[in-house]
């Protein structure tokens, strides 16, 4: 049984402009100890999917309109608000982008970590303090016995994000959701933080759900990848499959749109237009208006979910074709630039 199983999740945002189908039928599974990356641009529904799992969608605009979210076999959508409070910060924790907004400036960080220990594990006094210091030690905050009394402003950005991590792992969650958790950090600090998350995953047997726009994070951290566009998962595969042989033109386009560190390209492929909003639903594929490979059919009928290989699927009329051929979207670009085939060199 998968630890987390999301099935046909639908989350809608109601506003004066109408109904925005922010999450429009999303399904995926995540096993204990594994990492899944939900990648997409702003408005693709990736964050809304994460917030739906925790029932933290913005009230009163958002409504979870359908589907199921099974965590350890129980449907979270059927839990009461009281039960959800036990789960949030307990067996499912989240780390957000900007720790300065999630940490309270007037309480010491020890107090804030203790809050979740107090609520979820009902520990007090010395046992509570020991637990807090242990969490800080786990996230490698130096001198935790002393720093536990410090306030958020006394920490650097990277250390503050570690504190947010300490709060998240204090109650030994099974699933940790990282919603753009390292986007605000500097490169060297981000690298340290991601390495730390990997260590924690090993030590605590955590499942990770990475919400990100950055394929670099996916490449570094994830086992599986779900690419989202307009509220749907348009492609799902094991991480190397996604990079080596994308089957959806949107994935292909995103990979070609990012300038590489290891190769100089003359011109990047730029996806025309802007991401479509979830308000107006088109008859065909939502990506069709921006897709370089769109055919007549794409504009009139919803593409089927095509399994191109066991564990690799894409919602595209031409998925088989895209998967089978080495297409480059950018004229003149080397089809394999950025994508690598053959035997990969071993990681040093």
């Amino acid at each position: 049984m998968a630890l987390l199983e999301v099935e046909d999740l639908r989350t809608q945002l109601h506003s004066r402009r109408g109904i925005n189908k922010a999450v429009n039928g999303v399904s995926f599974k995540l096993d204990t100890g594994k990492s899944l990356g939900l990648v997409g641009e702003s408005g693709s529904g990736k964050s809304m999917t994460a917030l739906s799992i925790l029932r933290l969608v913005p009230q009163p605009y958002a409504r979870i309109a359908g589907g199921a979210i099974r965590f350890e076999g129980h449907d979270l959508l059927e839990k009461s608000d009281r039960e959800m409070r036990q789960i949030r910060g307990g067996s499912i924790a989240i780390i957000l982008q900007d720790p300065m907004t999630s940490l309270n400036p007037v309480f010491s960080i020890g107090y804030q970590i203790a809050e979740s220990v107090r609520i979820h594990q009902r520990l007090t006094g010395r046992a509570q303090l020991a637990k807090v210091i242990e969490s800080l030690r786990r996230v490698r905050v130096p001198a935790p016995e002393i720093r536990v009394r410090d306030y958020p402003h006394q920490f650097s950005g990277g250390m503050r994000q570690r504190v947010a991590g300490a709060i998240a792992i204090a109650c030994r969650p099974k699933l940790l959701i990282a919603d753009e958790a390292t986007t605000a950090l500097d490169a060297t600090i981000q690298a340290q933080y991601l390495d730390l998350l990997r260590t924690l995953q090993r030590e605590l047997d955590l499942a990770f759900l990475f919400i990100t726009h950055d394929f670099g994070i996916v490449a570094k951290m994830c086992d599986d990848v779900a690419v989202m566009y307009a509220g749907r998962i348009v492609e799902y595969a094991e991480v190397r499959e996604i990079f080596n042989r994308p089957a959806h033109p949107y994935t292909l386009a995103l990979l070609e749109a990012v300038p590489k560190l290891d190769a100089r390209v003359d011109r990047l492929y730029a996806i025309p237009g802007a991401p479509s909003s979830g308000y107006a639903e088109q008859p065909g594929c939502p990506f069709a208006p921006r897709c370089a490979l769109a055919i007549q059919q794409c504009h009139v009928a919803k593409p089927p979910l095509t399994v191109v290989k066991a564990g690799h699927s894409a919602e595209c009329w031409r998925a088989q074709e895209v998967y089978a051929t080495d297409i480059a979207l950018q004229a003149g670009a080397d089809a394999s630039a950025g994508r690598r085939s053959g035997t990969p060199e071993a990681g040093a």
Binding site: A187, T188, Q192, F215, F243, A257, V265, R267, A348
Partner: protein, 337 residues
């Protein structure tokens, strides 16, 4: 010899290009008040602490570094928003400190800027036509009609419709707003555009559009760019020359492809190692830095990286490394070389 003399002489000789902008031993310090109320002291924050480089005609010079390294302060000094504490900035051979009011006006229209978040620099109640034409007000010989025409032409150059001129900022998406900001920079026919993280707040698919636009405009019109960014792939894509800054100082400066093929300074190598991989099979573990960045109010002695550098030797804590030429178009300041 100073850092500047080294780099400018050799660099101009190598490419034959004329330096448009020359920055020599630039220092920008800020006084900061610190400590409890009654024992408050003023300390000096050394945002830029001796930086030299030059930007040549038609070329992109990039500055990379983490937050707090002084890259934005350097740009602000060039834009004459910040006054240098010492050192000089020459524009086409003239020291900016000694130019008169008329020349300052000309300089301000020849050097334009595009920032990370264009929305914060736009007045939400003004039509974008006013926003784009604003720099043209500096030149009193340009009338209302010509301003409007120029704004429309600029909009077309960045791929928007001339009719968009009467729209308000909120009517544009993030990527379009960045196009509007670029149009404003173009309107006064600049020579140099300072681009401070121009794509980092944009979606991946929009980033490529904006970068390609910037490249095309440069090829067509020969602008120089001073490009400030932290994403190394983006820097490689955009630049001819790259300077790597750390705590207010240039650590390494090189022709772009040379730098990416052969990074020398431990800090540059650490930045490369920390960069997110382009592919799951890539694992970079060349140089990992320890600790956090030191405070700019309390810069370490000797080489300022020695508190974090895995190769630090006794000499590094005591002596500031000299700026050395290590290749035909490559300089670094490190005791290892």
């Amino acid at each position: 010899m100073t850092q500047a003399q080294h780099s400018s002489a050799a660099a101009s000789a190598a490419s034959g290009g004329q330096p448009l902008l020359q920055v020599d031993d630039l220092h920008v310090f800020f006084p900061v008040r610190r400590g409890p109320v009654l024992r408050r002291k003023t300390v000096t924050l050394k945002a830029v602490d001796g930086v030299s480089f030059e930007v040549r005609q038609g070329e992109t010079f990039s500055i990379v570094g983490e937050s707090g390294c002084g890259k934005t302060t350097t740009a602000r000094a060039i834009l004459k928003v910040e006054t240098p504490t010492s050192g000089s900035i020459h524009w086409q051979g003239k020291n900016l400190e000694h130019i008169d009011e008329q020349e300052t006006k000309a300089y301000r229209s020849a050097v334009q800027a595009v920032f990370q978040d264009p929305y914060s620099s736009m007045n939400p109640r003004l039509r974008i036509g006013n926003f784009i034409a604003e720099p043209l007000l500096l030149n009193s010989s340009i009338g209302r009609r010509e301003r409007r025409e120029r704004a429309q032409a600029a909009l077309e150059q960045v791929g928007l419709r001339p009719a968009d001129i009467d729209n308000f900022p909120h009517e544009f998406s993030g990527g379009q707003r960045q196009r509007v900001a670029i149009a404003r920079a173009l309107a006064s026919a600049p020579r140099l555009i300072v681009l401070d993280e121009p794509v980092s707040s944009l979606d991946v698919s929009i980033r490529a559009q904006i970068m390609n636009l910037l490249k095309s405009l440069q090829e067509a019109q020969g602008f120089s760019y001073l490009f400030i960014a932290h994403h190394l792939g983006t820097v490689r894509y955009m630049s001819q020359m790259v300077g790597v800054m750390y705590l207010g100082r240039m650590m390494e400066l090189s022709q772009s492809e040379e730098l990416f093929a052969n990074p020398l300074h431990p800090y540059t190598r650490a930045l490369f190692s920390a960069a997110l991989p382009d592919h799951p099979d890539i694992e970079r573990k060349d140089v990992m830095l320890q600790n956090d960045v030191a405070a700019a109010t309390d810069i370490p002695s000797g080489c300022r990286l020695h508190t974090r550098c895995p190769f630090a030797k006794p000499v590094c804590t005591a002596v500031e490394p000299e700026w050395k030429k290590v290749g035909s178009n490559h300089w670094t300041a490190c005791h290892l070389y």
